[in-house]
Every structure is written in structure tokens, then in C-alpha cells.
């Protein structure tokens, strides 16, 4: 399958005009200002060590998008490190200007050729019709959708994932496809691609004494001692995990749509004392399903961790570069790596992880 975009396609200007991402960003921001007049909602958060301001043009997108990160709420004063503007046309009556690029400018993963450079990061995902644009020059971003009712459920589970990745690209922070559980003094990153047992292992810890920082995407700080920051307090369960964890079924927020969606649980709302902002990392655990009854921890290698984390993370995140790969590499080299051979007796998983952490304290 040829997934490449030809050089001619990449360079084709829209309507014969050279791309002007700055002008388009300002035009879109102007629409936001009009749409939010008299109905602006602002939420403040600390994500990693960064102050993030989310501005909404009315309530339609405010609740679903803040629900996954409520646990990171932080009433900071002063200038934010990142400001994101959320709006849609339907609920506000706004009218976004037409896309200033030709259809041929749409590349892989929604990247708009001509509107991505050192300063601007732009994606438009056809099908879910979401525009995300980040201005690295002023640390501002736009998240626009034609109709808020079309926002897919998974966007609510990890709001701003791309924008945060773009904002943090020059920081020692890296979003990684992994979960994290532990204690206030230290925890483990649980990494693996879909089907590896990552979510099962993380969810199995929910009803234990272990704290929870995330089960799908977390933010790691690789400057000095590795530290994991929570990003989202959501859990997405595939059908198998709904069966494995029947106690979680009553907590599912979209139980009427499970024929077409994964089960989504807002964990902070049900496990408020378990969901935390983060903790220092002591090790990386790579789950693998053995079919055996008992769970155990077995030494693995740095390369195993990199292979479990890097491809899936780099391919998920739009415009991931060697900088991101290097941060993941730094993380993997800084921590001991173990296989978590997850047994069928799920309650053993938090016991084994807890014992493992105590042995390394």
C-alpha cells in the first residue's frame, strides 16, 4: 500500500496563493472571539509543570473536554504556558472561514501541507472534522469542530493530545502511550501496544492501594530522575476487559453505545483518592499475557521497553520527530525494565507490583 504524498501534492499552493498559516490562525481566532462574546468559559490546569488555560465559546464543549482532566485543575495566576481555544459552529452560530488549502494538501494523519512549519502545527481530520492548530510562536492553539455533537468519544477521553505534544516538543516532557501506577514515593510505567495487557494490568490496580496516573497516555519528564505526570483520568475498556472487571460496568459513561464504542469511565469521579497528578518512576513494566495463574516480574532489556513504547507513541502522535524518539530513549535507558507476566488471577497484579515497588524502595 502506498501511503506517501508526492512532493507535488505537498507543495501545491491553495488557489495559487502561497500558504499563510499566520493569517488563517488569526482569522480563526477572530471567529472564536466573536463566538465566545458574553459566553466565555475558562478553565485552568497544571499539566506536567505547565500552566494551561482552556477557553471555551460556551458550555457545549467545556464539560466533555474538561471532564477527563478535572484532576489537573489548578487556579494559577499570570500568563499561561499554553492557551487553547475551543469552539464549534453549531452551538455558537459562528462561521469558520473556508479552509484556505486545496484538497490535495491533506496528508497523512490530517497534516495539512503548507500549514506546518517550525511555528505552526495544523491538522484537520477528515471524517471527524476537527481542526487543531498550534502557534508555537505565541503558545496558542485552536481546536475547532463544525458541530460539537460530532466529536467522537475518544477525543473526550484524551482532549488536546496532539496540541500538548506539539507544545511540549521542546520541553523535557513527552506524552507516551503507557499507563502508570504506584505510590507517592515511586511507581512504574506500564507500557505495551494494544492487546499486550497494558490496560488490564493498570485497571487491575484500581481497587488496590496503588495510585493511578493513567492507563493509556501519560506524560513523562525525562530531565533528571524520570517522573510521570498524569494526563487523563479516563479508562477505555474493550469488551474483554468489561468481562474481566464486572465491578467497573456500572461506572461506564457510554453504556448505551457499547455496540460501536469502547466503554469509557471517568475514573476521577469514582476513585477520587486513587487518581493522582503523578509520582517518580522506579521502573518500566512490560505486560505480557502468559495464561498462567500467577503473576511475576522478570528482567527485560532497555530495547524491549523502547520497542514497546516508541513505535506506538511516535505513530500515534502527529509530527513526532527524532526529538520525541530521543526522549523515549532517555526514559528507557534511565529505568530498569521488566516483563510483567500477568496471570489470570487479576488480584495478584497489584500485589506483585506493590511488592516489587517495596523491594526497590
Amino acid at each position: 500500500m502506498d501511503l506517501t504524498v508526492s512532493a507535488e501534492q505537498q507543495l501545491k499552493p491553495a488557489s495559487g496563493k502561497p500558504p499563510d498559516p499566520a493569517a488563517f490562525f488569526e482569522a480563526a481566532l477572530h471567529v472564536f472571539e466573536q463566538a465566545s462574546a458574553g459566553r466565555l468559559i475558562e478553565h485552568r490546569y497544571r499539566i506536567g509543570d505547565q500552566a494551561v488555560l482552556m477557553r471555551f465559546a460556551g458550555p457545549a464543549m467545556a464539560r466533555p473536554f474538561s471532564r477527563a482532566i478535572d484532576h489537573l485543575s489548578y487556579p494559577f495566576r499570570g500568563e499561561p504556558d499554553l492557551t487553547v481555544h475551543f469552539f464549534d459552529d453549531r452551538s455558537t452560530g459562528a462561521a469558520m472561514p473556508p479552509a484556505p488549502w486545496e484538497p490535495e494538501c491533506h496528508g497523512q494523519r490530517g497534516v495539512i501541507h503548507g500549514y506546518n512549519d517550525d511555528r505552526f502545527f495544523t491538522t484537520y481530520e477528515i471524517g471527524i472534522d476537527i481542526l487543531q492548530m498550534f502557534d508555537a510562536g505565541q503558545n496558542r492553539a485552536i481546536y475547532w469542530v463544525r458541530d460539537y455533537q460530532w466529536i467522537p468519544y475518544w477525543e473526550n477521553s484524551f482532549p488536546m493530545r496532539s496540541i500538548l505534544h506539539w507544545r511540549f516538543r521542546k520541553e523535557p516532557l513527552q506524552a507516551v502511550h503507557a499507563g502508570a501506577v504506584g505510590t507517592a514515593t515511586g511507581g512504574v510505567l506500564i507500557a505495551g501496544k494494544s492487546g499486550s495487557g497494558k490496560s488490564t494490568s493498570t485497571l487491575a490496580c484500581l481497587t488496590s492501594d496503588l495510585l493511578y496516573a493513567g492507563d493509556d497516555y501519560v506524560l513523562v519528564d525525562v530531565a533528571g530522575e524520570p517522573y510521570v505526570h498524569s494526563l487523563y483520568s479516563t479508562a477505555k475498556l474493550v469488551a474483554d476487559n468489561c468481562d474481566r472487571f464486572p465491578q467497573l460496568r456500572p461506572l461506564v459513561s457510554n453504556s448505551d453505545k457499547l455496540d460501536e464504542q469502547k466503554a469509557l469511565i471517568y475514573l476521577r469521579e469514582h476513585f477520587p483518592s486513587s487518581v493522582v497528578r503523578g509520582f517518580p518512576l522506579r521502573a518500566i513494566l512490560l505486560p505480557r499475557i502468559t495464561g498462567a495463574r500467577n503473576t511475576r516480574v522478570v528482567k527485560a532489556g532497555t530495547m524491549d521497553a523502547y520497542r514497546a513504547i516508541a513505535p506506538t507513541t511516535l505513530l500515534h502522535l502527529t509530527r513526532a520527530t527524532e526529538e520525541a524518539a530521543r526522549k523515549i530513549s532517555t526514559l528507557c535507558r534511565a529505568l530498569p525494565v521488566y516483563w510483567l507476566e500477568a496471570g489470570t488471577e487479576l488480584e495478584q497484579i497489584p500485589q506483585v507490583i506493590g511488592g516489587f515497588l517495596r523491594s526497590r524502595a
Binding site: G107, I126, L315
Partner: protein
């Protein structure tokens, strides 16, 4: 078939390829195809020599002079690996002599080392993340939609 006579020099296909090396193994992620790769055996060394600006022929000479085994076997292994790397868009043709060919890789081995054939493992399980949907229209608001959407 790659024309090794006409295209004897290659470079890493940056920025589409992201790579990282660990303990004798090299992991490559091809960001456009969604495939990722593990290079093992002598493959990381061959990659290193190519990246340093050696021609394919020179890389074969370098390895043949330092390893036990038939010269023919070593050369065939190098050519075969390079052919795979090109086919996977991990390396692309470069201008002849674009980098100094005299640079040897760190940890240069002594002559007589047993030759370990190069291994390129290919993983395609992430490819579905990158499926491109090129079929769309632009509606009256100037924004693209998939064909058939919003037509009722």
C-alpha cells in the same frame, strides 16, 4: 531491482525515518508507512557504514576484509540488506561521496571476526494508524467531507 552501479550511495530517509540504537540493535520507525523495524546481526554495522557515506560496494569490501567467511557471502548479504532498506524507504539514493568514506564506525572490529548475517525484522501492526482517506469533497462552507457525508 535496485541498480547498485548507478545508485551506490545512500542516506537515511530523514525525517520520515526515526531511529535509535541500543546494545547492538537498531530500531527504525518509518513514519509514512507506519512500519517499524529491528536491525540485528551485522545489519546495524552495515547501516552505520552506509550512513557514514560509504558506497554499497565499499561497505561490502569493508566487511569482507574484516570477517571470516567467503567474500561472496558477505557482499551478497550487504547488497541484499541494502535492497531491502531501499524497498522499505528507509534509505534513499544520495549524491556520490556526500560524506567522507574514511570514517570508520565506533568500536571497529579486528580482522577475522566471524561474520554474522544481517537481520531486518519488519513489523506492520501499526500501519492501520496511518491509513489515508483521500476521498473527500469540499462542501459549501469550504471544508472537506468524505464523499456521501452531509448529502441528505
Amino acid at each position: 531491482m535496485v541498480d547498485f552501479v548507478a545508485m551506490r550511495y545512500y542516506r537515511v530517509n530523514r525525517p520520515d525515518v526515526v531511529m535509535e540504537s541500543f546494545e547492538g540493535e537498531l530500531v527504525l520507525v518509518q513514519m509514512k508507512s507506519g512500519n517499524y523495524y529491528s536491525l540485528q546481526g551485522s545489519a546495524p554495522l552495515i547501516w552505520d557504514l552506509i550512513e557514514r557515506g560509504r558506497s554499497v560496494e565499499d561497505t561490502g569490501d569493508y566487511l569482507a576484509a574484516r570477517h571470516q567467511g567467503t567474500e561472496e557471502e558477505v557482499r551478497r548479504s550487504v547488497y541484499s540488506l541494502v535492497e531491502e532498506l531501499v524497498a522499505e524507504s528507509l534509505i534513499v539514493p544520495a549524491t556520490n561521496g556526500s560524506a567522507p568514506a574514511s570514517m570508520d564506525p565506533a568500536g571497529d572490529m579486528q580482522p577475522g571476526t566471524p561474520f554474522v548475517p544481517p537481520v531486518l525484522e519488519r513489523y506492520t501492526d501499526m500501519q492501520e494508524l496511518l491509513l489515508l482517506d483521500p476521498i473527500h469533497d469540499v462542501d459549501q462552507t469550504g471544508w472537506p467531507r468524505r464523499k456521501g457525508e452531509g448529502e441528505s
